[in-house]
């Protein structure tokens, strides 16, 4: 059974249709990369999955549970909305760490608050889990540092650990290295690749084509709000069939 199923998702801003009828599904443990030019709707798609934007119509199903079916978020109670969005984690382009908390506190904040309001959420292992995540990110020695004391790459790795602390079913990355210089990009990509090796289910929006080819099980090329091409990296990146995909990738050919 697919862990995620998206059917006929649509989203407009004012009268501009940003996502025009998107359907796809993914399997547990799969790494899915979404590529495409700016404004093609990649980020909006991720934001719809994470309920930061309300889709106009369409269906989102995770592990067989319908999270959304042709309804807008405004009709949903805040409590239900919060429970449903926890199926997804999101790593932002600009990290968005909380500046007044240390790396460790950033990771522990949401689980601690959740444990207070939801007794089914186990509170005892939060700190150990957070430390373990930092260790996995190679940042054990940085747990007491504040975000402004960390490099961009380190901040992004803390943000990844923070998103994983709530154990989402699907972890989403919105251009996780676009705000980083090439030197720092490498350390973040290595961490993501490591997660792919551990079969974390991930959706990654990226412009790093070499990385996408290396890490993905499947690649989606988006153009003007639709999925123009979809397949294995060998198919979509190395041997694209769609005219727009060929045109888009020609900008990268020199670099790959």
């Amino acid at each position: 059974m697919a862990i995620l199923e998206v059917r006929n998702l649509k989203k407009s801003f004012d009268s501009v249709e940003v996502i025009h009828d998107i359907s796809f599904s993914m399997e547990e443990g799969e790494t899915l990369t979404i590529i495409g030019s700016s404004g093609s709707g990649k980020t909006t798609l991720l934001r719809c999955l994470n309920f930061l934007e309300s889709p106009d119509s369409g269906m989102i199903k995770v592990k067989g549970e319908e999270l959304l079916c042709n309804e807008t978020l405004s009709g949903m109670s805040e409590k239900i909305l919060r429970r449903k969005r926890l199926h997804f984690g999101l790593v932002f382009q600009s990290f968005n760490l909380f500046p007044q908390y240390t790396a460790l506190e950033n990771i522990m904040l949401a689980p601690t608050l959740l444990a207070k309001s939801d007794s089914s959420f186990d509170a005892s292992g939060i700190e150990d889990n957070a430390k373990q995540l930092l260790d996995q990110m190679g940042l054990s020695d940085r747990m007491d540092n504040y975000p402004h004391e960390l490099s961009g790459g380190q901040q992004q790795r803390v943000a990844i650990a923070r998103a994983m602390a709530l154990r989402p079913d699907i972890l989403c990355f919105d251009e996780p290295t676009s705000a980083l210089d090439p030197e720092l990009t490498g350390e973040v990509l290595r961490v993501i690749k490591d997660l792919a090796g551990k079969h974390m289910t991930m959706i990654i929006v990226t412009h790093e084509m070499a990385f996408a080819r290396d890490v993905s099980d499947r690649v989606i090329f988006m153009d003007n709000g639709i999925i123009a091409e979809e397949g294995s990296p060998a198919e979509v990146i190395d041997n694209p069939q769609n005219e727009r995909t060929i045109q888009f990738l020609s900008n990268y050919k020199k670099n790959i």
């Binding site: 919060r82 997804f88 504040y146």
Partner: protein, 218 residues
């Protein structure tokens, strides 16, 4: 003589401080309410609130003091402030609270709106409630940003309280000036300046301390 003047000025300064602290007590929270009003999505609320802020910030505090004190008696034939020192003090307090609430509200609004939207979104995708996001993530960042402008405004308030003398609230300058008429001496007036300097110096130290306390993050 020095001792008598000191005691008189201290009595005046007591009124100054009372006006100062009571104004802060009411206007700091009221300002937050007004700032929420001025950021409201409801146009029926936002419009009037912004109009009030414009009028209050666009006219002199001196004028507001006079209108608030004399207005009800002359326009409505009902002196709601009552007679005597206490009535005049309350009228002055009301004018100061309205005036400073509006200024504080704009500082709050600036602080709240300067927090990047990503901070709210990060909280949302981590399943936090709106309340938790405001109190655990946003608030301290806002406080850090507004400490300098708020402290500026508060130090201005120390000196603005002297305007209350226009409706005969016997604050410290009123007392100091009385010696010009009664004794023909001006040094008590200079002496009042010392009170202001000492008090605003104390506040400056206090705010610097708060700023330093909040300097552990950026």
């Amino acid at each position: 003589m020095f001792q008598i003047v000191t005691l008189t000025l201290l009595e005046g300064f007591r009124h100054t401080l009372r006006l100062f602290f009571l104004t802060l007590l009411f206007s700091l929270p009221l300002g937050l309410l007004i700032s929420f009003g001025s950021m409201s999505k409801l146009k029926a609320l936002k419009g009037p609130v912004r109009l009030i802020i414009w009028v209050v910030r666009g006219t002199p505090l001196m004028l507001q003091l006079l209108v608030i004190y004399y207005g009800p008696g002359i326009l409505l034939h009902n002196n709601i402030w009552g007679s005597g020192d206490n009535g005049r003090f309350i009228a002055a307090l009301v004018a100061f609270v309205i005036n400073y609430s509006c200024y504080f509200s704009e500082i709050y609004r600036g602080g709240i709106q300067s927090i990047p939207i990503g901070q709210y979104e990060a909280g949302e995708v981590l399943g936090m409630t709106k309340r938790q996001i405001f109190f655990k993530v946003i608030l301290l960042q806002v406080i850090k940003r507004i400490v300098p402008p708020i402290s500026n405004e508060i130090i201005t308030l120390v000196k603005d309280t002297s305007l209350a003398r226009v409706i005969a609230v016997y604050e410290i300058i009123w007392e100091g000036q009385s010696y010009i008429k009664s004794a023909g001496i001006i040094w008590p007036l200079f002496y009042t300046g010392v009170f202001y300097l000492l008090f605003s110096g104390l506040l400056t130290l206090l705010f610097r301390r708060i700023e330093r306390k909040l300097s552990y993050f950026r």
